[in-house]
Point group: C2
DNA sequence: GCGTATTAGTTGAAAATGTAACTAACAACA
DNA sequence: TGTTGTTAGTTACATTTTCAACTAATACGC
């Protein structure tokens, strides 16, 4: 009778992923929270706007895989902070094009620079080769196209 | 003027980790939620009890890196479902030793078997070699000792 | 022993999230 | 045009999480 089919939590991929995600986000999350009073979804919306230029809430939902209510609230919060603004689209008045304001751009610039550095420091913890492989694997699991 | 220091969200490790963690937990979370009405923290508490045997809430907090209020509520919920029970410790009456009930053991057995299979299917998505390397890297980021 | 500090765990209120129902605008088509 | 269906986005409400204050028990210094 083989009693050694013990399955440890640290072998369970979802658990590991969550722990690692928690640990890895901590530092950065703290920064944008304390500095700009932003929530994670807000940071993501900002990031996406910076990356893809003006886009609608729906497009962000799809790209970032975040539910529309979360996006809706994040957009409202960012608007209140005057980091973004919106413009109803002429051809389809259900859609609103979101865009960064001047101060939004400044904030994003700061956050991106820090994100980059933060990422860099995480990668160094793992080593170039490992880090690259890690990202590739994560992209697969996340269902993103591999680069 | 080099304008191509664009930093993409999919290059940002915390973002990737979160996306992957989300995607990877989804299927399993759905199962224990629908089947046993359990929340993630409850499943983790159960898992830890199965793994380490009787232990106190504090010990679970430390091991799993979960805040004590979350654990406290998870423990209360599991107790209500009669999956675990507690026993105040003789030598220090602030501490309560948690242990699985009979039905708790059954539930855990089911969940562990499924977790194992679920894990297996995720690993297959990546291939043996990749999966192994992924887990190693995650353990490092999570601050767990590598195995 | 007595006062103060810590520690395990709980609780209540506030913040955030998830879910489902809603509004407004468009589309399709008789 | 009018009916029906779909889509973008918001809102309301229930559940979950977070944060801070709390209780009860122990530990420490004297």
């Amino acid at each position: 009778m083989t009693k050694d089919d013990t399955f440890y939590s640290t072998e369970f991929l979802p658990y590991l992923l969550n722990q690692a995600a928690e640990a890895a986000s901590l530092g950065f999350r703290q920064y944008y929270k304390e500095r700009y009073g932003m929530l994670r979804t807000e940071w993501r919306v900002l990031f996406h706007l910076g990356q893809f230029g003006e886009m609608t809430a729906k497009e962000i939902c799809d790209r970032a895989n975040i539910h529309k209510t979360k996006i809706s609230r994040a957009v409202a919060a960012l608007e209140k902070k005057r980091f973004i603004a919106r413009r109803t689209m002429e051809n389809d008045r259900r859609l609103e094009e979101l865009f960064l304001t001047k101060s939004g751009k400044q904030v994003l610039e700061d956050l991106q620079r820090r994100a980059k550095a933060f990422d860099q420091s995480l990668m160094e913890q793992l080593g170039e080769e490992n880090a690259r492989s890690l990202k590739r694997n994560l992209a697969i699991l996340a269902g993103l196209k591999a680069d």
